[in-house]
């Protein structure tokens, strides 16, 4: 089994203001999808990224926000176990970010000590 990272990105939507019900149903879609992968025993770790953050650039320039000057924001990532990239891509199917116009990038992880 190899490890793969799925990175979830979507476009920044300034007018994004979901109702509490939408938030709830959104969280639930994610949890149901995670649950499906976890039920196969293939989740290594999962994390959401908060909107708090800054960007460090050369010459000590610090930009506010994690998303300065980019159109897309990474919302979170998950590390999964799979035998190969095809299988990892299969796991990515049904990811709720696809419904909301975002995408999942699946990358193979190379251990530092390997």
């Amino acid at each position: 089994m190899k490890e793969f990272m799925m990175i979830f990105s979507s476009e920044i939507n300034e007018s994004f203001g979901p109702s509490p019900e939408q938030m709830q149903s959104n969280i639930q879609q994610w949890m149901d999808w995670f649950g499906g992968i976890a039920a196969q025993g293939k989740i290594v770790s999962a994390n959401r990224l908060s909107f708090e953050g800054k960007t460090l650039k050369p010459n000590h320039v610090i930009a506010d926000g994690p998303y300065a000057e980019v159109k897309e924001i990474i919302g979170g990532y998950v590390i999964v176990k799979a035998t190969n990239l095809d299988e990892a891509m299969k796991l990515a199917e049904g990811c709720p970010i696809l419904i909301h116009g975002g995408h999942v990038e699946v990358r193979s992880i190379i251990p530092m000590n390997g």
Binding site: D32, F34, G36, A39, G41
Partner: protein, 424 residues
């Protein structure tokens, strides 16, 4: 009450107190547990001999304590080398053996029992041995009862407990709490043992319903003991207590008079114990303090919804969400299967079948049972073949007979349907 009834009763309540105080006095090193066991056993033996002849003393508990104290002093006197070399290391330090006080005050009894729980529930000894020692020392179970609970013989249990005591002796395990962190890090292994002890009773394969209940009650008693103590009364301890209360509330409903299991959806809900459900609710609320969300919290949450007699879609969605979170904390095949069952209730059998087929638990007979359940009514032919595969893999007679019932039900249904030939 005659001494024939009184002694077993006192054995259940006082044995663990005396032995804990003595273990704590000697320390598990230098065979302390065995010495404490010998003295405590001797005390009860003397009680049964003396009370039978002279009648029951006015205060039987005080009598036991006095005898245990004297026996301990005698022991120390008789083993002069032991006392000279070792007494210096004893908890009551520097004092001479004659002046050693065996402190059987309620406070020391309480503290000693707490320390014994933490000493025994230690991952350096195997889980089965932890449960065995807990039953022997903390619950006053006889070796034969423990052997029966584990479906094995007295010899095996004696050996297992001996090895565990040896391990505690050589590793010189003596738990003294010094900081909050000590309690926290060790509490996890204590709770794991209590959880196993409860499950041993709840899912045990022994047909002796009475014994199974005893194991569950002892796990709950020890858990309650942790709640009563301020240092160990943590939200996670309350979460485990809530879980046990909810499960125990169905004890009468889930086993029939000959010890066979009754499935959840076929249980007589009037047999559910309302008092235990109310207690479970109370501990669940207590467990909600703080930020920790442990697997016990999630399992208690699932058990809470299972204890609710209301049937609505939200109920199963809540159960599904708790299983989703539980799987992220700790994967286990049975959690994965239960999650898929809950998914079928929320999103329908077709969706659940798609996810079930990805689980890849082909060694597990519950996996085939689940697929059998999911295909029932959608494709009874497939359902029958899955239930048959489950039956081949099932290990216990109970499981086999449950599957047999399912199969004959389905086959009856299949045979009663009008069959259409190709010409029609």
């Amino acid at each position: 009450m005659s001494e024939k009834e009184l002694i077993p009763q006192l054995f259940k309540t006082e044995y663990r107190k005396i032995i804990s105080v003595l273990c704590n006095l000697f320390g598990p090193a230098l065979s302390g547990i065995e010495i404490a066991e010998d003295i405590t056993n001797d005390t009860f033996l003397q009680a049964s001999e003396t009370w039978g002849l002279k009648g029951i003393p006015e205060n039987p508990t005080a009598w036991l304590y006095t005898v245990a104290k004297n026996k301990t002093k005698d022991y120390l006197k008789r083993h002069k080398t032991f006392s000279e070399k070792i007494v210096a290391d004893l908890k009551l330090n520097q004092k001479q053996s004659e002046s050693i006080e065996v402190d059987l005050s309620p406070k020391n009894i309480n503290d000693s029992q707490l320390q014994m729980i933490f000493t025994i529930c230690n991952p350096i000894i195997p889980a089965e041995a932890q449960i065995g020692l807990a039953l022997r020392i903390l619950c006053g179970f006889g070796i034969d009862e423990i052997a029966e609970a584990f479906l094995t013989n007295k010899d095996t249990i004696n050996k297992r407990l001996f090895r565990a005591k040896e391990k505690l002796r050589t590793e010189n395990i003596n738990i003294v709490f010094s900081t909050e962190i000590d309690v926290k890090s060790r509490l996890d292994s204590v709770l794991a043992t209590l959880y196993l002890l409860f499950n041993e009773g709840y899912h045990s394969t022994t047909q002796k319903t009475h014994l199974r209940k005893e194991l569950c009650l002892e796990a709950m008693r020890l858990n309650y003991f942790l709640i009563e103590n301020k240092t160990t009364n943590k939200p996670i301890v309350n979460a485990l207590m809530a879980l046990m209360c909810f499960h125990a509330s169905r004890f009468e409903a889930r086993i029939n008079e000959i010890g066979e299991p009754i499935l959840y959806d076929q249980q007589d809900k009037n047999l559910w114990n309302e008092e235990l459900i109310t207690k479970g609710n109370y501990y669940l609320i207590q467990s909600a303090q703080g930020n920790e969300l442990s697997k016990y919290h999630l399992e208690a949450n699932i058990a809470y919804w299972h204890s609710s007699k209301i049937e609505n879609p939200q109920k199963w969605n809540n159960i599904l969400q708790a299983y989703n979170q539980l799987l992220l904390i700790e994967y286990s095949p049975i959690t994965a299967l239960n999650r898929t069952y809950a998914l079928a209730q929320v999103k329908g059998k077709q969706t659940a079948i798609r996810e079930a087929e990805k689980l890849n638990l082909t060694d597990n007979h519950f996996y085939y049972s689940l697929l059998g359940y999911l295909y029932t009514d959608l494709d009874d032919g497939k359902a029958i073949s899955y239930f048959e595969m489950a039956q081949q893999k099932a290990k216990t007679d109970n499981d086999k007979s449950l599957l047999n019932n399912k199969l004959s039900e389905l086959k009856k249904k299949r045979d009663s349907l009008p069959s259409f030939s190709a010409s029609e």
